[in-house]
Amino acid sequence: MSFSTLVFVYIFLPLFLILYTLVKPGRRILLFLFSLVFYAWGEPVYVILLLLLTAFNYFSALDLAGLASAGRSTRGALILNVAGNLTVLAFFKYVPWIVGLLNTGFGLGIPVPELSLPVGLSFIVFRAMGYIFDVRAGKIKPEYDFLTFALFLAMFPTLSMGPIDRYGDVCRALRRPRPTFRKMTAGASLFLKGLAKKVLLADTIVLLYQTMKASEGNATVLMTWLGMLAFSFQLYFDFSGYSDMARGLGGMLGIPVSVNFDYPYTAVSITDFWRRWHISLSAWFRDYVYIPLGGSRVAPARHILNLLIVWMLTGIWHGASFSFILWGLYYGILLIAEKYLIGERAAVFPAVLRRLVTFVIVLVGWTFFQGGSLPQTLAEIKALFGFAAAGFTDSASLYALRTNLAPLIACAVFATPVPDKLFTRLEKESPALASLILFLIFVLSTAFMVYNTFQPFLYAQF
């Protein structure tokens, strides 16, 4: 099930919230059961996988803690856990790709399994592995209450697209959620803002991106820029909209969900961008891969290798294709350049210029991220830099610019913190007016959900 559907907004969520408010003692069981229904909505069979993964990691942590308390080595238990989790992830996400590569490379005829990736599998597996790493490091104690642990992995607000929360940050709230009226209203407000980002902005600007893709291979320089600008905004409002909705839902339930985006398109450098974009994933790789590899406290050559490893893995996490690997390495190289070549020298330039340059670099990076073939991606990069076979512009590109100027400006404005700051001030100074605006946003979002073609969340495929 998706947050941006009428079934979720008008049936699932109200029904759940009514029952959640009424049945205080069985609140956590209710949340778990509703989460299973949420997950089963599109693909019921994967609920079995979710339960098996939950049980596997639950037992694994207890075994690991038992070994540690007995003074025995936990390395074998850790390897077993990581191998188990990664095998499941690889089976659905990477096996068809690898088999396809083997068939192409060696002329083999291995049947390529048709597997649909269970929604949110990468997020679930990474959340589970983070928990295991923390238990092994002694940062947290293993959870004995199965329901609490199951909620950590499977509660519906964070089930399909994260964030990749840490167990230590949420365990108290999961054991005893404390929803209050204040949290409920603040959560509802955040949920509506997220819904508007997804339905009003992401799902509107995607039409411009689709126009560019429809003229594939024949897009002008202007059309390619417009298309990639639209894709950049779609991706941001789609994923950050989901994250806001997840936080809003968590707030309503009395369970905190971490912030995953901090206006990334206002970043002044690539390093800054990755502190603001998909924060929970960056933090996961930093804490569980980069730092164990030695981080930056090693010789420069080793540090460069560490960065490349981490960013290649980040790329692979997003999908099984060379485009994603290249996308990861693109950022690895940029971060190395920022660290060793540019350093503090960029600070002499005005912040506006640094923001603009960072945004353009990120936009170029998204060409790899679309999941297209390498020749397609390279053709688009060439077009972005003025080498489009169709020329600089044509009447269709100018028409696309004219008709999409308003949505593009709206996206550019809402990608900055200004509207949020203004709205926060309005909520303090005139709560009634703020509530009215939220109500109108809700009505408008409903109209868009009814009349527009359903667009699934982009990150749900990861």
Partner: protein, 181 residues
């Protein structure tokens, strides 16, 4: 009040019981059992029916020879959007045709999606269309309503197959001959 406080303390401290963390490999046994069950679950995916990635043109040329299809109207992207609310640009190809007569409910839609999950995401649109057809012919088109019972709505690999007709079975057989491994 004190009772409540002690209950709260119990909840907070429950996971830290040292006695339960004593060394025992029984957790390992349970872990291995769940791992084995997970392995069986994954294996079941490998042995189930597989479907090929076939160009849409191949499927169309095979299916369009089916019973009664030649007399039906081929719908375009606008038709797909009007009847199903689907954006053709978001698919890998489609074949949509329906009866030339407004008095007949016969319809066939085959959509090729990016993958199985994407194909499954199209099911609600087809289901809504089936309900709409039923509503349109209810009360005055008994023979047409009966076609609803013979309707086929299925996801086969990355394809959505939806047919409402007495010949739905024939159309599906032609479709499966092309895509089933």
């Amino acid at each position: 009040m004190n009772g409540h406080a002690s209950q709260v303390d119990q909840i907070e401290k429950a996971p830290e019981k040292p006695s339960r963390a004593s060394f025992s490999r029984s957790w390992l046994v349970l872990e291995l059992v769940t791992l084995a069950l997970t392995g069986l679950f994954l294996y079941s995916f490998l042995i189930r029916q597989q479907y090929r990635d076939v160009p849409m043109e191949t499927i169309i040329s095979a299916v369009s020879e089916g019973e009664g299809l030649t007399a039906m109207i081929n719908e375009d992207r606008a038709g797909l959007r009007r009847c199903y609310g689907l954006d053709a640009g978001a698919t890998e190809g489609f074949y949509f045709c329906r009866s030339s007569s407004n008095m007949e409910a016969d319809e066939l839609l085959i959509v090729k999606a990016a993958d199985e999950a994407a194909a499954k995401a199209l099911v609600p649109a087809a289901q809504a269309r089936l309900d709409a057809l039923h509503e349109s012919f209810d009360h005055y088109g008994v023979s047409e309503v009966s076609k609803r019972n013979k309707a086929i709505l299925a996801v086969r690999g990355q394809y959505l197959f939806f047919a409402v007709s007495d010949s739905a079975g024939d159309w599906e057989a032609r479709f499966l001959r092309e895509v089933a491994e």
